[in-house]
Subunit: 305 residues, 5 copies
């Protein structure tokens, strides 16, 4: 996530946003050179082929499908991003509820403490699964032996930790630390953790259908590359500037959609999963009257991961 609070319109006009521009530069350059070429041959073409010139209205016919594709891609990508954020918000909510229940119902119980540690471990394991990296250090720090090896070796790590949290609460029930109803109250929250896990896996494993990407890319690219030919008949040597600017807004809209579509990565606009994990642990620890053992992830330039 980019943590920057520039609010002046003037600064925003010239800010460098590194994650978008490099990816659309080749096409922008192409548009620029085609514009130059079109402006150069324009006089000759109009005198030779006066009845075969692209003009601006022809582009409005392409505009319908372009608008549908771009608008659709944009809103779907943002919804995926925002749903992912909601799921991580739920993770904080449910973990706090579990900690509240454990601390109030069984304040001095060793398993209650393990439960809270396990909730933190679940968050780190989920982050690792979604990013394809590794949470071993955190798991070693937070999980007891009875589950650690299984969790380190497992394929669906967060699901294994969640199953173990279920065993913890069932044990607390059998030990008499929880009544039947209290076990149920915790178990409902474990169901909610299962929903968070499954929801994140769904977003991570099911991209927007491939055919959309193909179609959107083709429409935007062909439209951008034809643009100079259409503009040149009426605006002449202003074409390079205007065509590049219009193409820039379309291509950037396509690329930001691509970035938000996969919100669990480490690109500029992705969710700061490390910071979210740390925040979850910090909040649970404060409820226990403790500090977090792990250091907070630092901001790297303007990015927070």
């Amino acid at each position: 996530m980019i943590v920057r609070s520039t609010s002046s319109w003037l600064r925003l006009l010239f800010v460098w946003h590194g994650s978008v521009l490099p990816r659309i530069m080749p096409r922008l350059l192409l548009v620029f050179f085609i514009s130059i070429a079109a402006a150069a041959v324009r006089g000759w073409w109009l005198s030779e082929h006066a009845d075969s010139a692209l003009s601006i209205p022809a582009f409005t016919l392409m505009g319908v499908s372009l608008a549908i594709f771009l608008g659709f891609r944009n809103s779907v990508s943002y919804e995926r991003f925002w749903e992912a954020r909601k799921l991580w918000g739920s993770l904080l909510i449910v973990n706090r509820s579990l900690a509240r229940q454990a601390l109030s119902l069984a304040p001095d119980n060793a398993d209650a403490r393990r439960l809270i540690d396990g909730c933190c471990a679940f968050a780190y394991a989920l982050k690792a699964q979604l990013r394809g990296d590794d949470a071993d250090a955190h798991l070693r720090r937070l999980l007891p032996e009875e589950i650690l090896d299984k969790a380190l070796a497992g394929r669906f790590k967060p699901a294994l930790i969640l199953a173990w949290l279920g065993q913890l609460t069932a044990r607390m029930r059998r030990d008499g630390a929880l009544s039947d109803m209290q076990w149920h109250a915790l178990d409902r929250n474990l169901n909610s953790l299962s929903e968070v896990l499954g929801g994140c896996e769904r977003i991570a494993s099911t991209p927007i259908p491939f055919t959309y990407r193909v179609l959107l890319n083709r429409t935007v690219t062909v439209y951008s590359l034809l643009l100079p030919a259409g503009l040149v008949t009426s605006i002449g040597w202003l074409t390079p500037a205007i065509a590049v600017f219009i193409a820039y807004t379309y291509l950037a809209l396509e690329v930001i959609g691509e970035e938000l579509e996969e919100p669990f990565g480490k690109e500029g606009n992705d969710l700061p999963l490390s910071a979210l994990c740390h925040g979850i642990e910090a909040s649970l620890r404060e409820m226990q009257g403790e500090d977090v053992a792990a250091p907070a992830p630092e901001q790297q330039g303007i990015y927070l991961y």
Copy 2:
């Protein structure tokens, strides 16, 4: 589902997507030949009927209903696809929760093990019902005799398996393996399975109202076929290329909508139900400390089913 990760815009421009092009080819060819004809007779027509020529602005009037139809079809189809995916995500979530409850509450109970097998069988039976194929091999592998025959012969197979899961939990309650409250916790998750089943059946049995298909098809087709006549007056011999490209974006948008509308099939953009079933069983087995008996479905070319 197409599992391809081509990300370069240049490759996307030339990738072959086999599920869309063949279905729109006849109309694209028609547009192409009409374009050729229109460009050929253009000079004669304009000299004879100068005041009766379609021009581009006339098409913007059709654009309103075209945009509404295409935009509507597109977003409704995608919502159906995504709701179907969410339902299958729920299936994984609920099955994991049931397995967690069974394993933690009644770890050594034979019915608890049957329950987990039954959850897997439910997923395979649902896939078979939605795709109209047959899950007998999986059912034979996973279901005990007390339900197998009924499930193999039944019309609503997943509903029968679900009813049997209810009998299992009631039996575990009567046997004392579950307390009343614990039975309730499992029963709530069985209700959720019922919601997944009913939701999938709803999507499968209720297509987008037929009249929409008729109207959308007519609007898009007539619009595409008239396009060359409208473009030719201003862009002449550029018409064949431009008209085919514009028609391509509209027709492809119609066809992808048609494909996503029925997300349970085996077309290019449909949900990989076999892989999802296997993933569900794999996750439950791992929680039991076991491996899946059935092999994972293999990717076939770029498709996963």
Copy 3:
């Protein structure tokens, strides 16, 4: 519901959809005759009033409100249709859950059997209330004497049947056939039936605000009738064909919205409530190991009711 699976674009182009065309025919004919008249007087008008001619761009100004009205009406109508379908999907889901609970918790109890019959009766009574027809035959078949007379005479029949289902479960609780918790599990599902009932009543009793219909009808009709005058200046004798086609897409969009808005009727695009009721009973009976007493509703031509 129209149950037709014509998928060829060519067939869709010429299929007759009886529920839309007759309702817009008068206006289409009017557009046709105005087009003829406009094409006939065009030469004279342009020579007399050269500076007072409607042209195509003037219509794009009307396009904004037209697009908002049509797009809004269309999506709201579809949402009503789809919400109604979801409610009937819920009805199946909840009825199955109730049957599962009754059959597993009190397999040989007479009230459990009555409960399942009552669930079916609830569906038929709801259909009858929504369609304004009569479910007496089904109620007589399914309800015992203790409720039958009240249900036949009542004003809110499904609500009365639901209240009686509550009495059944309370009686089963008092008789010891259900524990307190098990009663609660059934009672939650009765709450869900209440939600289905109230949701359907809401859709049936609250149409889209009347002012929208007035405004939409005026905008679409005036726009369509002015269309020939606007088109004729640039496309001459092509006007009758093009104007009728454009008007057709707008008027059909209005009419299909009107049909979907009230999804409980018996028009072409309405929900097949009879078939849904039969499907619910068939599924519950299969869970009981029985067949449905009532025959399945037959398809009438291309329609299923």
Copy 4:
């Protein structure tokens, strides 16, 4: 709510809808007189200032923000209307569920009867709070002495009645008329009543942000008033008719949004809260086998309040 079922397009064209036209008449007249003036001075202006004339394309640039404002206002207002309707649908649903539970669990209990009366009183009190009028007659009829004075004098009347319903159920629990679990089942429905109350208060107390109203009003008004100047250059003396019609669709769209935004009033398109309250009481009374004491609100002309 307007209860009219005129379905002919011809009638809809000429129906008088009294709540919209009077509010936009001043601006429509202004547009009309500006149109006359513009058509009159047109010849002179074009000869003097040929290069400074508004033309239709200039309006398409304003069209983007106009479309966003009108489309946004329209859908947000309708969503508020529909959410309000859903909340009142919930009120019926939950009241029926409470009545079902009270009647089946404690059929002859005096408090159970009071509970049902209290549910009805809650609906009337909510209507009175939302409309800023007075439900004293209904409260006197429905509430017992123990709560009546407090409810009549209170500021948040429905909240006080709801709190008293909580006391009733707690008393029934203490008296042994309800088990703990049964108390819980009722208490959950009281939570749902609290949601209905809070939801209605939210809609009533939080209008669409004021700045939107300012911006929308300015854009629509300025656009409408400029319209004649833009149209007159191309359509001459047709301007008064066309400009007034276009302005009518925009201004009506603004005004209907304003009306739906506050769905609890007594304007033409508002919710018929009195009829809804009566329907709720009628349904509960029928479940008790009784008739409603209060008369049904009558339709006043085409309106139902």
Copy 5:
């Protein structure tokens, strides 16, 4: 929140809305001066570079991305605003439910009274966390010693108060003031408070992705600044007025989006958190038969905070 009820369109036309205009004034002035300059050099430019003049249709090509950006920003910002309002509505709903439960189940219990005080304190603490100010006075007034110091010093204050509310209910359970089921009923509502807290934190900590702001600002600003050059060719000296008006609608749409995006601030369109907190306490106190100790926040001019 602006609490003004001006409803006349004429007044709305000239009302001063202080939070928007100052922020867009620099750009509006720029547009104005560019318009003057463009109108001045127009004659010379058209004679020298007749084939390189921006015209209105060129702007319609930019219109697609402009409409997507503005429409997207607008609806996403409003959704954030409305979700925030819903969360605060939930806070009132849940607090009332908790108070109803505490007052009816344990009317004379000292901890029940503390619970209600704690619910109020939670609201004030949440407001302080979201606005970055300080609720110490309210916390001192409302919280007992056992939690006060921890709450004053904590980082996540509302989470700490919520955890303490959990300890209160657990203590009431242990003291026998609540049965197990009754504890559960309160605990579910504490879970709902946790959802409110987490939801508000999510909105406050995750702005709309930064890249959108950059892109939207660039598109709107460049579009506005080019506008005079495009309009001047056809409307001449009308350009300054029309260009400034069009730019005003776009820029205001951008700025209102920015304000609604962060609904917890103290700007003109933000939520009146102080008034909402006071309303919550007033409603709970009335249920207790008491008055609020703290004075109601006063309206400051047209604003309520």
